[in-house]
């Protein structure tokens, strides 16, 4: 098994490393130790500002700073960044299209023990509805840094989604992310599995199970959920005639929905969405919760096998 690092750790490290090359300010709402912006704070104490437990105000402060020409990262848990502060993000960051990067950690059910109140499975859906918002969801810690750099190079609001759980590192240093682009990890002909975030490494595991059973799956990583890579999705529909999406998010409104929208409007083929099945999360160890919500490799492989009957 490869090394495991949480994408939130990749985020904190990326901020600290890229802080030399780029001029930006980082805000947090009393979660710097957990979101890992504390790593940046240690490296650049004069460019870090804690806003206390007041996420709405933090988003407004971020907007004000950005309006003066600076790039800002505003961090909290996904639940509070996208949930609590949705209206602030929509009206004072999204509408004026300000250069604010929202670093949202602890997304999805793998928050673990804290349970449903802190497990945000709705943030992608919320952020997707904001015009002009870019959504990035890295698969591993290396890609987390690539996403931070892509966000820095982009002029406008970006929502970055990170996880708490340590996940396998699948990319080599130097890997880059381009806004609006997904990437094919391996080719296949029977089905395409489009995965995002920690589901990418799980999809790769599922692929081993499928291979052993003679099923050829094309595996696609979709780190950029908005704008979604419509060309790549169309190509997948044409080449494999079946798509299974995998995400640690409600199946309503997430990456799977975005893929289905593209497929329905361009090249209709069956799309099966694997994700949190419109329920709340619950307490438990993150690793133990993954199979509870049907997000483990065996469950994904089974869903793919079922989906093949739709062809």
């Amino acid at each position: 098994m490869s090394e495991k690092i949480a994408t939130r750790d990749g985020y904190g490290k990326a901020l600290a490393e890229l802080g030399e090359k780029y001029d930006f300010v980082v805000l947090d709402a009393d979660l710097a130790a957990a979101t890992k912006t504390g790593v940046f704070k240690k490296a650049f104490p004069n460019r870090f500002f804690d806003c206390g437990i007041a996420e709405g105000n933090m988003m407004g402060v971020a907007a004000g700073i950005a309006s003066t020409g600076k790039t800002v990262f505003a961090s909290s848990f996904a639940m509070f960044a996208a949930g609590r502060a949705f209206e602030q993000v929509r009206n004072i960051i999204g509408y004026p299209h300000l250069n604010v990067k929202i670093g949202a950690t602890h997304a999805g059910i793998t928050v673990g023990e804290d349970g449903a109140t802190h497990q945000c499975n709705e943030d992608i859906a919320l952020m997707r509805t904001i015009p002009g918002m870019v959504i990035l969801n890295p698969a591993d810690a290396v890609e987390a840094k690539a996403c931070v750099e892509a966000a820095l190079k982009h002029n406008g609001p970006v929502y970055l989604r990170f996880g708490r759980l340590a996940v396998p590192v699948i990319y080599d240093e130097g890997h880059t992310v381009e806004i609006g682009k997904g990437s094919v990890i391996c080719e296949g002909t029977d089905v395409t599995i489009i995965a995002t975030g920690l589901m990418v490494s799980i999809a790769l595991e599922a692929n081993e199970i499928l291979k052993a059973e003679g099923i050829s799956a094309r595996i696609v990583n979709m780190p950029c959920i908005k704008p979604i890579d419509a060309e790549l999705i169309k190509e997948c529909a044409e080449k494999t005639g079946l798509i299974v999406t995998c995400e640690e998010h409600n199946i309503i409104g997430g990456m799977g929905s975005a893929v289905a929208e593209v497929v329905c409007e361009s090249k209709p083929v069956p799309v099966v969405r694997v994700g949190v099945n419109d329920t709340y999360g619950k307490s438990g160890k993150a690793q133990d919760l993954i199979p509870v919500f049907g997000l483990d490799a065996v469950s994904v492989a089974n869903r793919v096998k079922e989906a093949l009957k739709l062809k």
Partner: protein, 276 residues
């Protein structure tokens, strides 16, 4: 300070705001008329802004947190030369850049998009903090409503401003005592503002928001303050238009033709009285 000149400008702002709302047959005249004197003072006596360079880096910033009083801000910006006064008649029309609430992307001179209440002071804090970080000398001014202060985020921002020592920030709390559902004291009493802001670590001054001497004294005090500064400005909603004064019914409704003419006449007469 030329008070006669400022009075005349404030009167033009009121006329512009009333004309905008009348032309749109939509908008918020009451609160717009109430803040005209403060805006006249800020834009024509105090702030370093250049209509030819609306994005000038070191300009003073203004945030209209109570964004629904955009007619007054637009009339002020037009009076200052940011865009033609004639455009006020396109306010809220479908092809106009003069949106119902301030839109910083498309309206020259608007420093922050506002309208959803309670967000503006946070943005003003961000601007002030950014100035501190970069050691800029610009100042940040904001106007928020007394009713708006029922939004909890206003107090998150108040905490933030004093925590980071943002003495380059000053806000006018526009206390007209009225909001959509009635008197603020009946709907949800936000008073007392001076004690609240002092408890949050600000310096404060209570003034008559229509008296230029008092506005002048408060602004000078704000600029000398070692803390963020709250100017509690007692104002009359609908100020200058006889039938609108102190009537919460005129919070968000537009005058009909006859009412508009009476209002404009009231404002013309007020100016004649002032100049006598």
């Amino acid at each position: 300070m030329d008070k006669t000149k400022l009075s005349a400008i404030a009167n033009e702002i009121r006329k512009g705001a009333l004309t905008a709302v009348y032309s749109a047959q939509s908008g918020h005249p009451g609160g717009s008329l109430g803040i005209a004197d403060i805006l006249a003072y800020l834009y024509f006596e105090e702030m370093n802004v250049d209509p030819k360079k609306p994005k000038m880096e070191d300009r003073d910033r203004f945030v209209l947190s109570k964004g629904h009083t955009s007619p007054a801000l637009y009339a002020t910006l037009a009076e200052k030369g940011f865009f033609p006064k004639e455009d006020l008649k396109t306010f809220r029309h479908k092809d106009s850049y003069l949106q119902g609430h301030p839109d910083m992307k498309n309206i020259p001179g608007v420093d922050m998009s506002t309208g959803s209440l309670g967000l503006g002071v946070s943005a003003a804090c961000g601007m002030a903090l950014s100035g501190k970080i970069s050691e800029k000398t610009y100042r940040v001014w904001a106007i928020l409503g007394d009713g708006e202060s029922q939004e909890g985020q206003v107090w998150e921002a108040a905490m933030f401003a004093s925590h980071y020592g943002l003495n380059n920030l000053a806000i006018f709390v526009d206390c007209n005592g009225l909001q959509i559902d009635g008197a603020t004291s009946d709907v949800m009493n936000p008073e007392p503002f001076d004690e609240k802001y002092r408890a949050f670590g600000w310096n404060t001054m209570v003034i008559d928001g229509h008296d230029f001497d008092q506005i002048d004294a408060a602004v000078k005090a704000a600029k000398a303050s070692d803390k963020p500064f709250a100017i509690i400005a007692k104002t009359v909603k609908g100020k200058g238009v006889s039938y609108m004064e102190n009537k919460c019914e005129w919070h968000g409704s537009a005058p009909k033709e006859e009412q508009y003419e009476i209002g404009m006449k009231d404002l013309e007469n007020a100016l004649c009285v002032e100049s006598k």
